[in-house]
Symmetry: C2
Subunit: 174 residues, 2 copies
């Protein structure tokens, strides 16, 4: 354990901690974000015990959050011949991470919102009072916009990284 290794450890800890804090400011739980940060910055897959040790968390916690990361598609289980336990490896390509998160958040957040808006727009269609008309109008506006956002999310998530950059340059002149 020399000075160079210590410096790396320290910087990684900093990154893991900050990434965890960011995550929890989002709807993502701290530990999940921390595990993701850790796995992203490590050259080899880790097993559950390594994650537990590095982050000083319990087995149950490590297990739950690793499973959740796998469910999100951000982490893969890798099996090593001769080894009985699972190892975990994070997707490291930033564009893939982005599209995965975009797809997942769309599914979990945008699509349900759209459902609510459609239902409320429909339920308020016939209410012929100033309040009713205002409400219905607002629901329609929101529904239209969220549907648009949904489509955009799909399209962007389906792009290849190079294409996205090209498009951005073309549209924005950057």
């Amino acid at each position: 354990m020399n000075a160079t290794t210590d410096a790396l450890k320290e910087t990684r800890d900093e990154f893991v901690a900050q990434w965890g804090a960011m995550g929890s400011q989002w709807g993502i739980n701290r530990t999940m974000a921390q595990i993701h940060a850790l796995l992203m910055t490590v050259p080899e897959p880790l097993d559950t015990d390594a994650v537990m040790e590095e982050l000083e968390i319990s087995r149950g916690n490590a297990h739950t959050n690793l499973k959740e990361l796998v469910a999100w598609g951000l982490v893969r289980i890798v099996v090593r011949k001769g080894e009985r336990r699972d190892f975990f490896e994070a997707e490291k390509d930033v564009w893939k991470i982005f599209t995965t998160v975009a797809r997942e958040r769309k599914r979990r957040e945008i699509d349900p919102a759209l459902g609510v808006l459609r239902k409320c727009a429909e339920a308020s269609a016939g209410i012929d009072t100033p309040e009713g008309r205002a409400f219905h109008e607002q629901m329609k506006q929101l529904e239209e916009f969220v549907a648009f956002a949904s489509t955009m999310a799909d399209r962007v998530a389906g792009m290849k990284h190079g294409f996205a950059l090209q498009m951005a340059a073309k549209v924005f002149g950057g």
Copy 2:
């Protein structure tokens, strides 16, 4: 209080409740999202007591979250001549809501993340081991991507709605 008015009340309550649930799945607190939903779907500005009554929450809670919404730029205080107390009115234009939220989230989430990544990339620049190189490389990749996202967010948030639609149509053929 006739049947039509009841139906509206019920549908609005549904919307408020669901929007609150969505918000809390994000990093936004339930009450703040509910107040926003309420104010968006009401034709006239409301005072604090009206919000308290409608959502059955305490004065302190109403106050805190109204202030927070004002800080986000999603709600305005309106003063009525002859009235001493404040009334609150939500921005109703969906595109303006979107750009406001985009700007605010960029400021609160993307920009700090960029700071962390820059710091970690720099701190790891000279660590010449396989682990160190992998870490540094990942930090650089993330930094580059987040910087790109930051620029995109600014550009999109600066667009007019019509222009955004036009652009989307052009790029995606929708």
